[in-house]
Amino acid sequence: MTPEELRSRAAQVRSREAAYAESFRVCTAESCLSLGSRALLHAIEGELESRELAERCRVKPVGCLGLCAQGPLVAAELRRGHGAEERSHLLRTVRAEHAAALVDGLDGSFDPGLELPVDLPFFEKQLRIATENCGRIDPHELDDAIGAGAYEALLQALYEKTPADVLAEVERSGLRGRGGAGYPTGLKWRTVAKNTATPRYVVCNADEGDPGAFMDRGVLESDPHRVLEGMAIAAYAVGASAGYIYIRAEYTLAEQRLRRAISQAEGAGLLGKAIGATPFEFNVELRLGAGAYVCGEETALLTSIEGNRGQPRPRPPYPAEEGLFGKPTLINNVETFANVPPIVRRGGDWFASIGTGKSKGTKVFALAGKITNTGLVEVPMGTPLREIVFGLGGGIPDGAAFKAVQTGGPSGGCIPAAYLDSPVDYETLASLGSIMGSGGMVVMDEHTCMVDVAKFFLAFCRDESCGKCVPCRVGTVELHGLLERFSRGEAGVHDLSLLEELCDLVKSASLCGLGQSAPNPILSTLRHFGDEYRAHLEGRCPAGVCTMRREGSS
């Protein structure tokens, strides 16, 4: 497909879309699906059919609409009369039995019990780049994605830019890795491009394993073509012709949608051989993870693609020099690739104008835990934590008091109320003893015990340690055992210093990121919630979560 063909196809799709006076978009991402959105979709279709309205009102399955807590979600677009302004409505907790009421509401008056206010801060305060098409397009249809501008940036790159131009654009954007560590994306690309060895590979890390994180799942289930386009642009920039997407086996829906998207894009000449009718070739294959958290670490992931046990290896050499099958390999996370097409389309300077000094652009966060508006949000870097938790997130339900927000999964830490006004960017979170991580934000209230939380993460790291290096394999077991003593009220003062000492050892001596960051949940809770540890020494659990063997004095 040439750029002209792509443009005319996009125009066709848009005019087809415009022929409908009204439309319903029904969320069919995992969360809403398991709340019954498939039946709802069919019920609305049936209702429109029986009232002979199918010609004027479109029903479209879409990806994540964001506010998962209120699912199943339906977005309605109404255009009253010719040329009139389009009005959007968002409807929540819609069940199949509401289908008739929904169709009744096409005159603009939906059941107030179902309708969400349009000016909800949850939506108002977002700036969507990586997720701009999530919830707008049908993730099953290539045409729908093309109508929304998919593959425009890829063909623009192939026809109007050299690989060096694309690279320079990405460098100028200031984009940093969205998987957690925040390594400058342009620098990584340049290292691969500079390498003279061939073949080179582009790998997408979709092994989203941090508990409490579901951003990549949202993007893959809602807009799979976006990720493929980002990968293809990267392949063009670094001179690769083959790529892999390593995706969690648990993400069945995302996997199916990706497989379908790959074959659609290949069929349309937008992936595979002769992309955009140019000599550029890029083939993508899927590789399924098999339930090993450590495979989210880049060298372990590559080892797993090679068919081995997913154990990491020392770096250097970095994958950019010697990666998959010993060849130069560019490995980025799903969200990083999803940011690439807009950067190519709108320029690196535009992207760099969003965000803070060293953290450019936006970040997608998965809000969950003791928070009213569970769901996916995308906000500019530097947005204060308070705004995310209390503005977009709607605060803590049931009148409970905020205690901490946990970011970065098992590699991250807990940030207390005193730092709620800190801007969310890579440097600030690191200075607070946590990390940006992949974007999971788990909110905790007064009923959560921080020692118990630390113990939870250590149990996780203990189970997921691959066993290759001793500090991590043995250290995580010992750390967990120590925390167990705290939560049973058996720990003594010397255990506190032992805990700190052991954290330092595991952090400094482990081979890969899993072990090096495993002590973070302990270190950050010790730093911000030291009182709770000391209370446990006295046999008290302030949150009332831990069952103490001996009763405290208070």
């Binding site: 995992e30 969360s31 398991s34 709340l35 998962c68 807590a69 699912g71 989203e208 394993g209 941090d210 508990p211 409490g212 994180a213 579901f214 799942r217 969690r248 086996a249 648990e250 993400y251 590789r287 399924l288 993870g289 098999a290 339930g291 090993a292 958290y293 797993s304 693609i305 090679e306 068919g307 081995n308 046990r309 997913g310 998965a366 969950a368 835990g369 003791k370 569970t374 769901g375 946990q406 999964g409 999971g440 788990v442 905790m444 959560t448 939380v453 939870f456 993460f457 996780f460 189970d463 997921e464 691959c466």
Partner: protein, 176 residues
């Protein structure tokens, strides 16, 4: 494309499911690096990896059997036990953990006498714990025979389990 030697081993049985697995392996080109994909193919069809299947993969892909075993046991997703009639995955990710997911596991243990990673004596139910399936808006949640249920309570899970086990009582286990 295929590197399969002329004397490639025959699948362990003439079960029709092997035809699909063989086709997948052929598409992947019988390379040693296709081992994990091959295991996925076998487990998709049979529900588990039986010893004969592991030996077959070892021979076909020319990978030492010890390594095949190493890979099969490294990854949590692969199982070497035949599936039971019902599987209940209890999510214990961060969000489920602070929303009292462990109470669900305790309730199942109280009612059926099996904890995470175990199977009831009559082989009707396996309980599996998961560290976050990425559907945190539904926390706490379980996945019962592939269906995600959440937000749920220990009582609801017990009732759902009771009724689905009662329905299939006396039937042979799946794929047996």
């Amino acid at each position: 494309m295929t590197q399969r030697p002329p004397d490639a081993p025959a699948p362990p049985s003439d079960d029709a499911r092997w035809k699909r697995i063989v086709a997948t392996l052929r598409r992947l080109g019988h390379r040693p690096q296709s081992l994990i994909e091959g295991m996925h193919a076998v487990q998709n069809e049979f529900g588990y990896l039986e010893p004969a299947a592991l030996r077959y993969l070892a021979e076909l892909l020319v990978v030492p059997l010890a390594k095949v075993h190493g890979v099969a046991t490294f990854y949590h997703h692969f199982t070497m036990r035949p599936p039971t009639r019902h599987t209940c995955v209890v999510c214990l990710g961060t969000v489920c953990h602070i929303k009292r997911g462990p109470a669900i596991l305790a309730e199942i243990e109280k009612r059926y006498g099996v904890g995470a990673g175990a199977t009831t004596a009559d082989g009707s139910l396996s309980v599996v714990e998961a560290r976050c399936i990425g559907a945190c808006s539904l926390a706490p949640l379980v996945v019962l025979d592939g269906e995600t249920i959440g937000p749920t309570t220990p009582e609801e899970v017990r009732e759902r389990l009771d009724s689905c086990i009662a329905k299939t009582e006396g039937e042979p286990p799946r794929d047996a």
